[in-house]
């Protein structure tokens, strides 16, 4: 049986728009309504961030949203409570993104079980190296039918990209540049070369490009070189500007991606 993620990529081959936001931001109970607003506005795939106090791969915007969410009491248990029953209204794929320590304290098995129960499709753990994933996490995640989304970067060797491609059954998260998360205004020639190099590898999995997507130039570059784009910090900024109207925040984001 095809997973929701596989279904998405089968039905849509380009311009896939994926949005990241932090659970419990801008209000503790915002998680579900934001998810619904994103789906209603035609977003194809959503990544919900599990806030962590020390997010090593994140820039200031996501750091600040995480700290706010934590200080207002957000945690993994609450997130699962908020997502409980989402599949009655949410049909797009939902992925959880977080740092290993939080998952470890919750218990990896308990985490996978809760994901499956509420209808989460996949997981991204940016500080879990592929080798550790294959050894310690994959058997459990497979048993629960959860997909792991692995990342590749401009520093990932061809050999390693092929190994990541082999061990992926959803899509590959292509990190645009050597950077933490956060808006960039353009991707230079070197980044475009990297995009084209990966494009030319004809990987078996589709790719989405993330980190730094914030406007038309960066969004178009991602869509041209991969199946679509992942937007995080820019959407968090839109939520900050429209903290009480999530639909308006999504509209603001979509407008910026055309400018």
């Amino acid at each position: 049986m095809k997973t929701r993620i596989q279904q998405l990529f089968e039905n849509k081959h380009s311009n896939i728009t994926s949005v990241y936001y932090t659970a419990g931001f801008p209000q503790p109970d915002a998680t579900r309504p934001i998810l619904k607003a994103l789906q209603d506005k035609g977003i194809d795939l959503v990544e919900i961030g599990i806030p962590f106090s020390d997010p090593m791969a994140d820039g200031p915007v996501i750091q600040a949203s995480s700290h706010q969410a934590i200080s207002e009491g957000m945690n993994l248990k609450k997130l699962f409570e908020q997502l409980e029953g989402m599949r009655t209204e949410i049909h797009i794929p939902v992925i959880l993104m977080g740092y290993v320590n939080v998952i470890m304290q919750f218990g990896i098995e308990a985490f996978c079980k809760a994901c499956t129960q509420v209808g989460v499709d996949g997981v991204i753990l940016p500080d879990l190296p592929m080798h550790d994933y294959l050894e310690a996490y994959k058997p459990i995640m497979d048993a629960y039918g959860l997909s792991m989304v692995l990342l590749i970067t401009p520093e990932t060797s061809t050999e390693r990209i092929l190994e990541i491609d082999k061990n992926t059954d959803s899509f590959i998260y292509m990190v645009s540049s050597a950077a933490t998360t956060g808006a960039q205004t353009a991707f230079d020639a070197k980044k475009q070369d990297y995009f084209q190099r990966i494009h030319a590898m004809n990987l078996k999995n589709p790719c989405l490009i993330g980190f730094g997507i914030s406007n038309k130039a960066t969004y178009d570059a991602a869509c041209k070189n991969a199946q679509g784009a992942i937007i995080g910090s820019r959407f968090i900024t839109c939520l900050r500007q429209h903290p009480n109207d999530y639909a308006q925040a999504v509209d603001a984001l979509l407008k910026q991606l055309q400018q």
Binding site: M56, A57, N101, E155, A178
Partner: protein, 390 residues
């Protein structure tokens, strides 16, 4: 038995939990560091610098009045006499020579007390390398002298304003810089923390402390081991260096002293081995002070160098296997011990080292016991604190 294994673990602690962008950088380091460290020309370059530039070997001083006071034979390993005033430079000398051999051009570092920052800025001046130091804003304020030294040495010091604005946050920011410069930059980590191979590599660079101790004890006492070694633990580098050559010496008791802050039964503490749970922070699995949800707890200690919520994987392993004994000293106990050393021996210790000295009053010694206290640094940087509290 206490060595790192081929996967980068000390028992169940260690590993390399890093974002993919750093994989290639860390993998290269992992594959090359041992060969480089064992290369005679590398060793010669490092040893020469340690001798002529740092001033090693550091003396092993028999502290007679302190010995009399505690009823045992106390020797101080004088890392406070090193150039830049602490053990930190043993490691930065090693790492900068390594960084050069790897062809790196840009150096970054985190610092708490500023000792590691100064030691890094110093070797960068020596080697003419660009140097960027991340330091929590709280620490920038409480260790002003060291900030001024780093700037005079030509380093850029970036005050970090996230979190508690101390060592943990400085380390986060250094990691983020590293993620953004994964090719040309070498991250000189200041303690036995971070992803494999850093904990092992830093331990090796600091192991000169116990290597000298062995020879010095042999010369002074006709036996090359002490009954006790006491060292303070922030991330664990001075302790790792002082313990290294005695890890397999059952006659030597290894005593690690953590910062209890206001007390291990309060929220204001940095005793991560005593209060931590298995977790992952800054690239390795170790004992971490954290909430039930896995959020890292902001630690507290009067000493900026011990104000860290985790501990190097070696020390988690030594503690869990019973090879080391872990004690904790409060702010007040450390201040008392600092004053005691100052008045009895005429040596003003760093606040971090004062925690190790505070361990003396927590152990019952026999008169013939030989006790080495690793005096990891001098107290210049802590004068403001001392003048305020004593």
């Amino acid at each position: 038995m206490y060595q790192v294994n081929e996967n980068g673990y000390f028992g169940e602690f260690g590993g390399a939990y890093i974002p993919e962008i750093l994989f290639s950088n860390v993998e290269t380091l992992k594959n090359q560091y041992r060969a480089i460290l064992e290369d005679p020309s590398f060793q010669q370059e490092v040893d020469q610098l340690l001798a002529d530039y740092v001033g090693r070997p550091s003396p092993l001083y028999h502290a007679k009045r302190l010995s009399e006071h505690y009823g045992c034979q106390i020797y101080l390993k004088r890392e406070d006499l090193n150039h830049t005033g602490a053990h930190k430079i043993n490691n930065t000398i090693g790492q900068i020579v390594l960084a050069k051999r790897l062809g790196k051009t840009r150096i970054i570092a985190e610092t708490g007390a500023g000792q590691h920052g100064v030691a890094t800025a110093t070797v960068c001046a020596l080697m003419n390398m660009e140097c960027i130091v991340y330091m929590g804003k709280t620490d920038v304020e409480r260790q002003e002298l060291n900030v001024q030294k780093m700037r005079m040495l030509g380093a850029s010091v970036y005050p970090v304003t996230s979190g508690n604005q101390t060592l943990k946050d400085a380390t986060n920011e250094a990691m983020r810089d590293w993620c953004s410069h994964p090719v040309d930059t070498f991250y000189i980590i200041g303690s036995t923390v971070g992803p494999h191979p850093y904990p092992d590599m830093v331990e090796r660079f600091q192991s000169v402390i116990s290597r000298e101790m062995k020879e010095q004890l042999q010369t002074k006492l006709g036996r090359n081991y002490p009954d006790y070694i006491l060292a303070c633990i922030g991330g664990g580098s001075n302790a790792a260096g002082a313990f290294h050559h005695y890890l397999d010496e059952p006659r030597t008791q290894l005593i690690a002293i953590e910062a209890a802050g206001k007390g291990t039964d309060t929220d204001e503490t940095a005793a991560s081995i005593l209060l931590g749970r298995l977790g992952i922070l800054h690239g390795s699995k170790s004992l971490i002070m954290q909430t039930e949800d896995g959020q890292i707890i902001e630690p507290y200690s009067i000493s900026a160098g011990l104000d860290y919520p985790g501990v190097g994987p070696l020390h988690a392993h030594l503690a869990r296997t019973g090879r080391s004994t872990v004690l904790a000293a409060t702010d007040a106990e450390a201040l008392t011990a600092a004053m005691e050393l100052t008045r009895m021996e005429g040596i003003i210790p760093a606040l971090e080292s004062a925690h190790a000295l505070a361990g003396l009053s927590k152990i019952t010694f026999k008169p013939e016991d030989v006790v080495v206290v690793n005096l990891s640094g001098r107290g210049d940087k802590d004068m403001d604190t001392y003048l305020r509290y004593i």
